[in-house]
C-alpha cells in the first residue's frame, strides 16, 4: 500500500521551551486504521494539530496525499477531515446547515444527495432540522464526524473519538469507524483506551514524551511483545511457594489456591512443561490450568514504564 501521510523529523517546541514533539518520523498507509497511543501530554494531539494546520511545527516535514502541509496547504487540508477531541459545535445551528457549511468551507460544490447520505449513515437524518444544542453528547459527536466527512476526505483524524462517551455509544462508534474504513477512508485515531486500538487498529504507534517509541502491526506487536500468563489452580492451597520453584517467575494468589506463571510465549523454551513436572515431583496436585495472552494495554503500560525507568 502507498503512504498517504509522510512525516519526517517533526518537532514542536513551545515558547516556554517545552518540547512536545522530538523529531517524529511516521508513514501512514492508505486505507489503514492507525491507532496512536500515548498517555496524556504525550504529543498525540500536537501531532494531529500540526498535520491539520491548527498548530505550527518548529521543524520537520509533513506530506498529506503528496502535498506539503506548508507549501501546498490547500491540497493537504482538502484531503483531511478532522474530528477533534472537544465537542466544539455551533450550538444554535441546525445539523444540516452546519454540515453544508463545512462542505462549502472546504471548497466543495453543494451536493444535497451526498450530505443526505452522510446524515443517514450516521443516523442523523431524522435530526437534520434540529439545533445542535438539542442533541445528546453522542449525537453531537456524530455531527462532528458528519462535518469532517462532508468534503469527502481521504484521511480522517479522530482525536479521542470515544472520550467521555458511554459503553454502548463507544461500541456504536467502533462499528461506525469500521464502516468508514470499508469506504476506503484512511483513519488515524488517537486514544488512551487501549481496548479501542485493540478492537479496530491495523497498526499501532506508541508515543510518549514527544517521541514515537514504536510502530507495529497490532497483531505482530502483540505476538512479539505479548506475555502469557499461566494460572494453575491447586487442589489444596499452600501457604508459601516452595523454594524448589524459585527458577520460575511465579506468584501466589487466591489465598494460596492459584499459582500464576508469566512467560514469553515466543521463547523456544517456555518452562511450562518443566514447571508442571516439578509440581508433580513436589506432590502439588492441580485441578485446572488456563492461559491468558497479555493485552495491548499490558504492552503499552510496560513500554511506558520501561521508558520512564530509562
Amino acid at each position: 500500500m502507498a503512504s498517504i501521510i509522510n512525516i519526517r523529523g517533526l518537532t514542536k517546541r513551545y515558547a516556554s521551551g517545552f518540547e512536545a514533539l522530538k523529531g517524529v518520523d511516521l508513514s501512514i498507509e492508505e486505507g489503514e486504521i492507525f491507532a496512536l497511543l500515548g498517555p496524556n501530554g504525550a504529543g498525540k494531539t500536537t501531532m494531529i494539530s500540526i498535520i491539520c494546520g491548527i498548530a505550527r511545527p518548529t521543524g520537520g516535514e509533513v506530506q498529506v496525499a503528496g502535498h506539503d502541509i506548508a507549501r501546498d496547504y490547500r491540497g493537504a487540508r482538502s484531503a483531511i477531515g478532522l474530528v477533534p477531541q472537544e465537542l466544539s459545535t455551533d450550538q444554535f445551528e441546525r445539523v444540516i446547515d452546519t454540515v453544508t457549511f463545512s462542505r462549502g468551507l472546504f471548497g466543495k460544490p453543494r451536493n444535497d444527495a451526498y450530505v443526505e447520505k452522510i446524515l443517514r449513515d450516521l443516523s442523523l437524518w431524522d435530526k437534520r432540522h434540529s439545533k445542535i444544542l438539542e442533541l445528546s453528547g453522542g449525537m453531537k459527536r456524530r455531527v462532528m464526524i458528519a462535518k469532517a466527512l462532508s468534503h469527502e476526505p481521504r484521511v480522517l483524524f479522530l482525536d479521542e473519538p470515544t472520550a467521555g462517551v458511554d459503553v454502548e455509544l463507544r461500541r456504536d462508534m467502533w462499528k461506525l469507524i469500521g464502516e468508514l474504513r470499508q469506504t476506503g477512508v484512511t483513519i488515524i485515531l488517537t486514544t488512551h483506551y487501549i481496548e479501542e486500538a485493540e478492537e479496530m487498529a491495523d497498526r499501532v504507534g506508541v508515543i510518549n514524551r514527544g517521541e514515537l517509541m514504536l510502530v507495529e502491526e497490532k497483531t505482530a506487536l502483540m505476538k512479539k511483545l505479548g506475555k502469557k500468563t499461566l494460572t494453575i489452580v491447586l487442589i489444596d492451597p499452600i501457604a508459601t511457594l516452595p523454594p524448589e520453584l524459585a527458577d520460575w517467575d511465579l506468584s501466589l494468589h487466591a489465598e494460596g489456591q492459584e499459582i500464576e506463571y508469566i512467560f514469553d510465549a515466543q521463547a523456544e523454551r517456555t518452562g511450562v512443561s518443566s514447571l508442571l513436572r516439578r509440581l508433580g515431583d513436589l506432590g502439588l496436585g492441580y485441578k485446572d490450568l488456563n492461559t491468558r495472552q497479555s493485552s495491548l494495554e499490558d504492552i503499552f503500560v510496560s513500554l511506558v514504564h520501561q521508558e520512564k525507568a530509562a
Binding site: Y14, T46, S49, C52, G53, I54, A55, R56, Y73, R74, G75, R77, S78, I80, L82, P84, E86, S88, T89, D90, Q91, F92, D97, F101, S102, R103, G104, L105, F106, G107, K108, P109, K147
Partner: protein, 256 residues
C-alpha cells in the same frame, strides 16, 4: 495572500449573515430606537434651542455623526464577535484546518460584518428622515465613505477579535476608547465651536477626520478638508490590513 476558494468565502459570509438574521429584531430595532432617542433629545429638546452650525440646522448637523457613531460600534462589534466566537467555542479548528487563505478569511468575515454595519447605517439614515429634512450633496461619495468606514472599522474589529482572550477584552476598546473618542470627535458639535487649546487637542483625535469627511458628503463642508479625511481612512485601512497580515503570518492567538 491568494483568493481561490470562493465557496469558502460564500459559506462563511452566509453563516455570519445567518447569525445576524437570528438576532434580526434586536439588530435592527436597537439602532432605530437609539437614533430616535437621539433625535428626541438632541434634535428636538436641545436642538430647537441651538443656533445653526455652519448654516446647517442642528438636527440635520448631527445626522452624519449619529450614523458614523453607530457604524463604528456596529462594525467593531460584528467583526470582533464574528472571529472571537469560534475561538471561544472552539469551532475555530474547522477554519484553521480548512483550505482557506488569510485573504479569503478576511474577505468573508469582514465582508459579512461590513454588510451588517451598512444595513444599520442605512436604517439610521432612513430613520433620520422621519425627524429631519435632510439633503445629501454628494450621495455617491456618501455611499463610498460609508463602505470605506464600515470596512476599516470591521478590520479593526477583526483585529480586536483575534487579540481578545475574554468577553471583557472584547468590549474594553469599543467602550473605553472608541465611544469617548466619537463623542469628543465632533459627532454632536463642530470642532470650530471649541476654544483653544481644546480645538488643537481635538485635532489629534482621528475620529474627527472621519466624521468630518462623512459630514462633507452631506453638506459639502466639514471641520477639516475632505482630503485629510480620505488620508486618515486610507491610513487606517492600510494599518489594519498590515496588522491582520502579520497576525495570520505569525499565527498570533490563532495557532499554537
Amino acid at each position: 495572500m491568494s483568493i481561490q476558494n470562493l465557496r469558502a468565502i460564500a459559506a462563511i459570509y452566509k453563516f455570519e449573515l445567518h447569525r445576524f438574521r437570528r438576532t434580526l429584531l434586536t439588530g435592527l430595532l436597537v439602532p432605530v430606537i437609539t437614533t430616535s432617542l437621539y433625535f428626541v433629545v438632541f434634535g428636538g429638546a436641545i436642538g430647537s434651542r441651538m443656533n445653526e452650525i455652519d448654516g446647517i440646522p442642528y438636527a440635520a448637523f448631527i445626522v452624519p455623526g449619529l450614523i458614523m457613531m453607530s457604524m463604528f460600534t456596529e462594525s467593531i462589534f460584528n467583526a470582533s464577535f464574528g472571529i472571537y466566537m469560534p475561538k471561544f467555542t472552539g469551532t475555530i479548528y474547522e477554519l484553521l484546518s480548512a483550505p482557506v487563505s488569510a485573504a479569503e478569511t478576511i474577505i468573508a468575515y469582514v465582508g459579512a460584518a461590513a454588510t451588517k454595519s451598512l444595513i444599520v447605517g442605512a436604517i439610521i439614515f432612513l430613520t433620520a428622515h422621519l425627524f429631519v429634512d435632510i439633503q445629501v450633496m454628494h450621495p455617491l461619495a456618501m455611499v463610498a465613505f460609508m463602505v470605506l468606514i464600515a470596512v476599516s472599522f470591521c478590520l479593526f474589529g477583526f483585529i480586536l477579535g483575534i487579540w481578545a482572550q475574554s468577553f471583557e477584552q472584547l468590549q474594553v476598546i469599543p467602550l473605553l476608547l472608541i465611544m469617548p473618542m466619537t463623542f469628543l470627535g465632533g459627532a454632536f458639535y463642530s470642532v470650530h465651536m471649541l476654544a483653544e487649546p481644546w480645538r488643537t487637542i481635538t485635532l489629534f483625535n482621528p475620529i474627527v477626520y472621519l466624521i468630518s469627511g462623512f459630514r462633507w458628503t452631506f453638506f459639502g463642508k466639514g471641520d477639516v478638508g475632505i482630503e485629510f479625511s480620505l488620508i486618515f481612512v486610507a491610513g487606517m485601512l492600510a494599518l489594519c490590513l498590515g496588522i491582520i497580515g502579520w497576525m495570520f503570518r505569525s499565527g498570533y492567538r490563532l495557532k499554537k
